[in-house]
Point group: C2
Chain length 366, copies 2
């Protein structure tokens, strides 16, 4: 037990449950039920096949997802999905894809999609420095779009959609990298969901893709095998050597979600409570701590705020580090302070942070 | 210390040095010099930048490689390189690339290269079931080839080139996945070397690419960023979240090679000795254990052999597992027995295996 791991407010890779770290530590020397180190077991072993099967099942159970969805574990991060999605769904198509630009991370896939076909940006928050999300009245979804792509939680700006967007007759594609498995998400209303692991569900090195089978019916599969969803589906994410370690850790996190936490509704309750405490504290700080995001669009995962001056921010980061906290610097793209409070960040750690913040404010009131 | 890890003859992911496993175990809770778990440290931290720098330096030192070479750590396995190489060097070119087909793994990149441009297969061992490698008199290299691609060690068939192929005026591209850093390799005679980690240098999830800078001078860089070598070079393998864990383990293995083993010439000496013992044993077994590869082309990494009958092979695998060995089944593509003896597999473990094999032969002599 290393207490600093529990005060890790990093935007990711970040905190993992302490019990999962303990299990991994053991598995580095010997995985229970095998005689071998986690790093020395073949990806063609029965053991690894059972890891993949259990992980797929756990994700289906957590999200209430039917067998018409494939659950894939791929490499390359969400970034690879920025390309795989339009290579598969947009290349050679006459229809345009609709993208919503709500921040740093939703801007990147637009660039990659434009390499492959026509893209219509339905709404952009660029002019308002991405401090809010669009309302329904600002979004004119077309029935003839090839698909709709959006990002459910903007990690950098601390914005999160608290509803499902789009039309039921146009496939929804969603980058849920930073809030996947943090709450129930009506997964079956999406045709494709992708999420890298290193926020809520594991370490860097693996990305989960959920895909409704019929999405590939008229899709492009003339692609290198490793970029071809069909190849990955047919081989159960074991086309070439998968990132065994990262996949196993992700399995342990899903077990924790199912058996310790008790499912996604419970996880959501805990996350709501944690975020609620932080935002109420910001709102009561008399403009010492200034939240960036519009109140209705605040993220349950990343609370982003500024202090009255850059000097105070530098001091805040130094003193918080001294007090044992880490990862509180805002994203290098926008600066400021960011408290990321993913699934494994405990309510106690939030309390400790708020206590520190209250003390810092008392000492530095201007 | 788990003794079974040291008797792991798997084709990969396989054995890692015991001291490295101990260090990783510690790092799961706390990385020395940081206060955090290896799984919770940001890839944008100073610590991770120093990991990348030291790993690049270690590889340069081990191979005597100049600064005109880039050292990259990428995702997607060697499989991704099967595509990235021709996407970059062959797409839109009039010249053909030359490929040598010496086994299971050199066959796959030929398929992916053909998607991108003209490919000339200089030699194929398919008709002789890949039981030998071509001699120099069988290889007519052209001066007008775009590049030459070959695989230095065929893990499945147990074949290894013990010389550098090709011409100095045509860029050499080599998949060294299964013998990288197992011996000095005259790295500067190659324009591009790639190797996934999970044989000699780390766990699954990261692939090393060494690339001479001028190779990109007239190369195609109109590619998605994650498939663009230039992007990866410019960001020091940190374009999007890299597989931090796998990269750190690989760093620890290079430290072991440098400081415990004492460099690649020493490693080669040990590997020669281990392989020598096995092949002498096979040759002296009176055709009970029958090596697959032609004597001159035998691999120092993978000794592949058959027993007199499938029934004996089944019994051999069962009894060897009972005796504590693992990973001895041949590749699913060709069956038989395979003893993979990568860097971290000790000479003592080889002795134990040979003792077991001698006993098995005595009991089952026909």
């Amino acid at each position: 037990m290393n207490p600093h791991n529990q005060l890790n407010f990093s935007g990711g890779p970040g905190v993992l449950p302490a019990c999962v770290l303990d299990e991994i530590q053991q598995a580095i020397l010997e995985v229970p039920g095998t005689r071998l180190s986690l790093l020395g077991i073949s990806h063609r072993s029965d053991w690894f096949a059972s890891v993949i099967t259990e992980l797929e099942d756990n994700v289906r159970t957590l999200l209430g997802l039917g067998t018409d969805y494939h659950v894939l574990m791929l490499q390359g991060g969400a970034t690879q999905q920025f390309s795989m999605v339009p290579m598969t769904l947009l290349r050679g198509q006459s229809k345009a894809a609709e993208y919503i630009q709500t921040g740093y991370w939703s801007s990147k896939p637009i660039i990659e999609a434009r390499r492959e076909g026509a893209v219509r940006v339905l709404w952009s928050g660029q002019e308002s420095s991405f401090n809010r999300l669009p309302g329904d009245n600002e979004l004119a979804f077309s029935e003839d779009a090839r698909y709709l792509h959006y990002v459910s939680n903007e990690t950098v700006e601390g914005l999160q959609f608290h509803r499902v967007l789009g039309r039921d007759d146009v496939p929804r594609v969603c980058d849920m990298s930073s809030d996947f498995l943090s709450r129930p998400c009506e997964a079956e209303r999406f045709a494709l969901i992708y999420a890298h692991a290193q926020k809520n569900i594991g370490p860097a090195g693996v990305t989960m893709v959920l895909m409704r089978d019929d999405l590939l019916d008229d899709a492009n599969t003339d692609l290198p095998d490793f970029l071809n969803y069909r190849t990955q589906i047919n081989t159960h994410s074991n086309f070439n050597t998968p990132p065994v370690f990262s996949i196993y850790v992700t399995l342990l996190v899903t077990r924790w979600l199912l058996h310790q936490v008790g499912g996604l509704a419970r996880m959501d309750g805990i996350n709501q409570q944690k975020a609620g405490k932080i935002y109420r504290f910001l709102d009561a700080s008399d403009q010492f701590y200034r939240g960036r995001a519009a109140a209705a669009d605040r993220s349950l995962m990343n609370a982003v705020f500024d202090l009255p001056s850059p000097e105070l921010e530098t001091r805040f980061l130094a003193e918080s580090a001294e007090a044992g906290f880490s990862g509180l610097a805002g994203h290098r793209a926008i600066g400021g302070i960011r408290a990321s409070i993913y699934n494994a960040l405990s309510s106690t750690a939030v309390d400790q942070l708020l206590e520190f913040m209250a003390g810092f404010q008392r000492k530095n009131r201007h």
